[in-house]
């Protein structure tokens, strides 16, 4: 299941990346050998063509390997209190078999990471996040004695299954009642004749579209993959990698570490990390609940207001404003911010971006200085930007229960 090389006499074994439980199937479909890495795992940037895979997410259905994502099981009578103390959202309101999006901060109110919490039982939670967080979890658990933290990153295999035909495929796989599963809800299913329901399905994802995350024991990963792909054959199933994910999440307006925010615990320069307010995550911060990490700092941050705020931009023309500076004037004299992520959105047909802009300058006109290359020669242009309040892509099917067939 893990690395075949580790057993061999491969002198480079220690330098090679780990392989996900789904690797044998994914490797066969990675026609371009476009591998990158994530948390020590060999991880596909794309398999065939990033735009094609992006369109599978928007047009049919596609799988994204989330085995490298970090997974922690937090259990015990103090588990809820500990998580509620750590994250900015009120976890005591979370019902069993529900998922919620959360973030957590330092005492100074700077964002460490975001992730999702699954309430698996009264005293049992699953936390998933992009970066390894065991050290911070342990620190956060100080004083909570009746609980334990288990790193399940390598013991739960996960596939994010996204796109308009996903529900139909899961129905065809025999997941009874899957069409009644509401967004952010969890259900358990039997698989391969097993009665103990080893397959967990959550209606979650990182694409803004209809989709599910499928969780299973790594020992069942390959047979599960085969069953899913057999069911999905007539529905255009395809694996997708980091590149397509990045396109889909930007259209949905979701933030990425290393793009929109610099993880606080990894930040060297003063205030080069962000508060949730700067990232427009105000709705994640619940001051009505008792003390939580960073509460005092966040209250004062809320009262003073943020210098920068993350906003969505619809930019004139079609040149992606990657790494652009933003100005208050067309002459590019008064600098007011910078673009964090940008792309041409094939589905919306718009030139979109997320950007950090000085809060005071958001209501006035915004111009992007865009650099692009044409047959080796560098060019630049200045384009007008329009602030957009809603996600660029938010189809009704993402929220509909039951979802339509496609």
């Amino acid at each position: 299941m893990m690395n075949s090389q580790t057993e061999s006499s491969d002198p480079f074994a220690g330098e090679r990346l780990k392989e996900s439980p789904f690797h044998p199937r994914q490797a066969a479909l990675n026609l371009r050998n476009a591998w990158s890495s994530w948390n020590g795992y060999k991880f596909a940037d794309y398999y065939y063509d990033e735009e094609y895979e992006y369109f599978c997410v928007r047009n049919s259905c596609a799988t994204y390997d989330i085995c490298p994502m970090q997974k922690y099981i937090i259990s015990g009578v103090d588990a809820e209190a500990m998580l509620d103390r750590m994250v900015t959202r009120d976890i005591t309101k979370l019902k069993e078999n529900r998922v919620t999006y959360v973030c957590w901060c330092t005492d100074e109110g700077r964002l460490i990471d975001d992730g999702t919490i699954f309430k698996l039982g009264t005293d049992k939670f699953l936390l998933t996040c992009g970066s390894p967080s065991l050290a911070w979890l342990r620190k956060s658990a100080f004083g909570f004695n009746q609980m334990k933290i288990e790193d399940a990153s390598d013991t739960i295999a996960g596939l994010s299954f996204q796109g308009p035909t996903t529900c139909e495929v899961l129905k065809r796989m025999g997941l009874e009642g899957i069409d009644q599963l509401k967004p952010f809800c969890i259900a358990h299913f039997s698989f391969a004749g097993s009665e103990d329901k080893p397959l967990m399905v959550s209606r979650t994802g990182f694409t803004g579209d209809l989709g599910y995350e499928l969780w299973i024991n790594p020992s069942l990963a390959l047979s599960f993959w085969d069953a899913l792909y057999a069911a999905g054959e007539d529905y255009g199933i395809q694996p997708y990698g980091e590149a397509a994910t990045n396109m889909a999440r930007l259209e949905a307006g979701f933030i990425m570490p290393g793009m929109e925010f610099n993880e606080a615990l990894k930040t060297i320069h003063y205030h080069y990390d962000q508060t949730p307010f700067e990232l427009s995550l105000d709705w994640l911060v619940d001051f009505k609940k008792p003390h939580f990490n960073g509460r005092t700092a966040l209250m004062s941050a809320r009262d003073t207001g943020s210098e920068y705020t993350l906003i969505k931009l619809d930019i004139e023309g079609n040149k992606p404003a990657e790494e652009s500076f933003l100005y208050a004037d067309e002459g590019c004299i008064k600098e007011i911010g910078y673009v964090t992520s940008a792309m041409w959105s094939p589905v919306v047909k718009a030139n979109i971006a997320l950007a950090m802009v000085k809060t005071e300058a958001i209501k006035d006109s915004i111009w992007a200085e865009i650099y692009y290359t044409k047959e080796l020669r560098h060019h630049s242009k200045v384009a007008k930007c329009k602030v957009q309040s809603k996600p660029f892509w938010a189809p009704d099917r993402a929220r509909a229960t039951p979802p339509a067939a496609f």
Binding site: F55, N318, K349
Partner: protein, 539 residues
Amino acid sequence: MKKYDAIIIGAGHNGLTNAAYLAKAGLDVLVVEKNEYIGGAAVTREMHDGWFYSSCSYVCSMMRQAIHRDLNLTKHGLVLVPYLGTVVFADNGDTMTSYHSEEAEYNQLRRRSPHDADAMFRFQADLGRYAQLIRKTLLRTPPDPTSFRPRDIRELLWLAKQFWSLGEKELYEYIRFFTMSAADFLDDYFEDDLIKAAMASPGVIGTALGVYSPGSAYVLLHHVMGDVDGNVGAWGLARGGMGAISNAIAGSVKEHGGEIRTHAGVDKILVKNGKATGVVLENGDELYANIVVSNMDAKRTFTQCMDKDDLPPGIYEKAKNFKIRGSSGKVNIALSGLPKFNNVADNRYINRGGQGFVGSMETLERAYDCWKHGRWSDDPFIESVIPSAWDPTVAPPGQHWMSNFIQYCPPQLADGPWTPEKRDAFGQTVVDKIERYSPGFKDLIVHMEVRTPHEIEAEVGLTEGNIFQGELTIDQLLFNRPFPGYAQYRMPIKNMYMCGSSTHPGGGVSSACGANAAREILIDLKRPNTVPEDDFYDE
């Protein structure tokens, strides 16, 4: 009696685009459509239980992105999805796949001819250069070269500048290109017959020309100059079928307060004192408007829907002689499974592309010979796509819809008028040919819709079933389209305009004709312009 600001005849995609922009400018517009459904040739209909055919046009690459964005067509349900490569079939059973990756494509070409694989780079660059120039003219009104109005002079200078920027050598080449045959053009690059046939085939699609006929090189360009999200030459499917395009534009018309009336065929355009005043419907109802815009082709507009006496001298003759010859058929097939083709790998990506039954250069030319003699091609060129392999909305899961475009099929047969029997025999010719390359194909057929130029004219209203509303030859392009002197969407009758593919830039689901016409109308009405400029990837 109600008087509209504008009546647009024909709810095809250009008519709807025109209406959307006029409505957006605040005009009270009515679109009248003869069929009980909208869309014209960009239409999707459930022709068999669970199967949604795009009965006429079937793929899309010319749709102006600026219009898509400006009219918010995504909000109105339009998603354009690029599809993957195409497999071409030679007479001898050989196949050649066009792959999505440049490297795979190069290796594939090299297997046939190392020379041609290398030549392909120069070919693509040359074609790209030509395409770029034409692309820039799509959302612009052609200048009148005989006029001294400042706008015409300015536009003429702009056009001259575009041509001059090619450099002297390329300028000569380009001028030659417009009158060349696809075969002559390709001979300068390639030696392999199948590669040539594959590249030449777009030069005859929808055109009553052969691959060796002068003028077919431009038609080739017309088919490769489109793009999907800036990938020039790529083709896309409208999710839900081509009707999704018309429906989305109709959504925009309604959003801006426009009205669309179906089952309202126009019998005559009303003219009073040299001015268009409205239309008479087939049921006798008269509707009045300050402006009448025809989205019908030029021949139908002037020879079928107007009194000859209402027209200035010469116009009727020009319309009568407008080159709009039907040459294509369409066979839409519902299949119980995905067909397998000889010498094609069972590869999920290839299966999501198209099939080109091109045969050889000689086969393509012989197919044209049949047309000249008033017969459908006994060994036709077929361009097929199986949209259901990629679009989950057009056929039941695991079953498929195959669109087959056939070149050639004549509007009139030498042995007398079209009959249902002859139509079916034409369909059988097509199915027999596909079966040759895909044994067992016939057993998969669940339902079939066969459309000769006769059906296309009767249903869509395109004269002779010509898919471009008039041939795309230099005598009918740019400031010559539809007729010299009338290329700026204004017609010889006051308050009358044209907005269909008979006008610049011609056929294809681009929305450009309708948008350009709206811009001219708004200029005449002294209203602020609502039509966007094109946005280019290659600026």
